[in-house]
Amino acid sequence: MSNSLTCDVVVVGAGMVGAATALYAARAGLSAVLVDRGPVAGGTTGSGEGNLLVSDKEPGPELELALLSGRLWADLAAEPGVGGSVEYEAKGGLVVASTPEGLAALEGLAAAQRSAGVRAASVGPDQLHDLEPYLAHGLAGGVLYPQDAQVMPTLAAARLVRLARTAGASLHTGRTVTDVLRTASGAVRGVRTPHGDIHAPAVVNAAGTWGGELAALAGVSLPVLPRRGFVLVTEPLPRRVRHKVYAADYVADVASDSAALQTSPVVEGTAAGPVLIGASRERVGFDRSFSLPVTRELAAGATRLFPFLAEVRAMRAYLGFRPYMPDHLPAVGPDARVPGLFHACGHEGAGIGLATGTGHVIAQVLAGKTPDLDLAPFRPDRFPRADAGADPDSAPAPVEGP
């Protein structure tokens, strides 16, 4: 590798969001360099799940980004060889409610979502088993969301990087960005790495949960914080769970500001056979220690939804740290504080789903076009400075042992 490199845009972070950003930027004709300190998908992308959901989002900017992203995912999946290689499945989501009150809340949300462009079909209690034959009995009803889909996130990131390279982007793994270079007037002029500088008039911060640190290198604050999640993986099974199935209280969890443990098991089959059960949500900083009580709750929730799972074995569990922002919206777009600096991070538990839309609009702005979405709600400088670090990031783990 030569000592210095020049391109149109440096994308920092080869997770799902950086991969999609590099792809759309390269396809927009920009010369893009994608840099990561680790391998492709070595961050949160390799330790989460790949639900592409509209069902869990209330009407608003995040839902609009999700709808745009869903269309882009479908377009990508339709390209020759892509859909299969990323294990794209437009299988639909089935959200169930166990009580009449829960169902009423769910129906209320579905009605609002419909007016925002989401397809949502009410499912009576006696129709649930036509959709999911192994579902528990006695549920109040549910809503079917045909637009919910899934990919295998690591494959998706790696394949999108591959496509980006085909379109002219280059990839540099094992290379940490240690500084964001700026001109005398403060504008971005590239990044510094131990293997040399990379010069570019634009830098995209796609560093996920570490996006705050990268922003700090450019001299700005961005309050990205980790939110831990565990996922359980079962032994491979013949397809018994057909949709993504989850309980309605999940919707409350996503928007919740409570730091307490909340598990909301989404149960989904995968192309390879195992069933994934996840994920928990806790704010415990970057604590990697295993928590049996948390996985116990995931198992309990999943077996409540699908009693047959009680006999199925969990093979492993893994954890990841979602990048979340205080208002649960990602930072997407140019940073008014530093010319040439763009952010594409903080997607919390939806970064796989929202990656395509995020990459697409960033590429549009980079290419001087008007983005398909109004980026104002995602403005990176929307937080008062004091917010950085004000969140109870260091709150003690609610369920940890001694």
């Binding site: 998908a41 990087v161 116990r296 198992a299 093979m315 492993r316």
Partner: protein, 470 residues
Amino acid sequence: MSERPRLAVIGAGPAGLVAALAAAARGVSVTLVDAAPEAGGQFYRQPAAGLGARRPSALHHQWRTWERLRDGLAAHVRAGRITHLTEHHVWCVEREAASFAVHALLGPEQEESVAVRADAVLLATGGYEKVLPFPGWTLPGVVTAGGAQAMLKSGLVLPGRTAVVAGTGPLLMPVAVGLAAAGAKVAALVESADPRAFARHARVLAAHPDKLAEGARYAAELARYGVRVHVRHTVVAAHGSDRLEAVTVAALDTDGRVREGSEWRVPCDSLAVGHGMLPHTDLAETLGCRLDGVNVAVDDEQRTDVPGVWAAGEATGIGGAALSLAEGRIAGLSIAARLDSRVPERSSYAVAAKARGGLREFFAVVDKVCTPPDRWVERVGDDTLVCRCEEVPAAAIREAVDELGAGDVRTVKLLTRAGMGWCQGRMCAPAVAGLAGCPPTASRRPFARPVPLGVLAREPDGPASRPDLL
């Protein structure tokens, strides 16, 4: 809290047994938990049963040690000082407020779980065999060195069968002797290491005349059975249509390349192959214990950095039965003292500590000399399966690294599924690391055994009111 402090020992091999006896003799209430139907671990269990009356002399000394341990265990069990739980597969050890819960699945079915509560835990889980892939290694008839012992036990290796023993490391000799003693024809022992490399460590070797004598005794046994030993050789391929029919053996040059024209075929119906051992660290990692490379890190008293958790034997580093015995003894003495709020006197374990120091030094040399041959990776064909559980060929791993930007075992696994199957990568992780050109790292396995979700979902019973079992 009960009157007597409670210790749970996981693993009834040499290390766990000795520790259990030492602690029980000093007033600790011990629960010894092991997945196997009988005590003894890798060493005492397998060869002993397989070799029966025809025990080679090299094993006589260890056999007497085993008899002492077995009788000691029986006496403590009778006296109620040790509870021995056989066929208990520990899937997780959980730290609770002031104690530990050892969760174990029962019997061969592994569908029900019990929790054993204890004030201290000793991880004496031993190690497992490392096998690197080569063309044909998945043919029926190709087994691990330990698998060969199991075949002996079940009578699968019948007199008149022809076996080859190959790979590297000190296990190959006892395995070859065991097979020969059981009546198999051992056509060749193929060791890839160069024994001349030991010469560079003459000082360490000179300090271990016993080890050299042990090696010499095995060599004499091999000669007596007419087993040809080929050093600096390797099995480059196994052949057969439905099952193993022959292997190709070749000489290696000093760079680890196959010497051109040196290949020859050896007809055989079994191949026992091993490339050393790796420690079982799953339970330790889930508890948050620090690892040192692939070993559980321990201090002079065999304590991990997690208070209340000790580790001994091959879980802390591969080094044979004698080292496991020494470490187990130190752990048992330390636990008994610490649970009684005392600092163990170093003089009480000075002999064991001296043996431990010497054996660790010796096996560090063995580890250096008996490494898999350089360039083994180049001999793995693209279509050779690397992960047997998920049927992932070498080509897929190469593609993940060269084309898809994977850079460590974890991303290779996620991109190819290598290591996601039933054995959770215990078998293929070293091979994947080798093919990916990255250092082998201990992968995190929160569940040491697959656990039914119904079992996982159930709250275990509250804190123990009785001393040992719940």
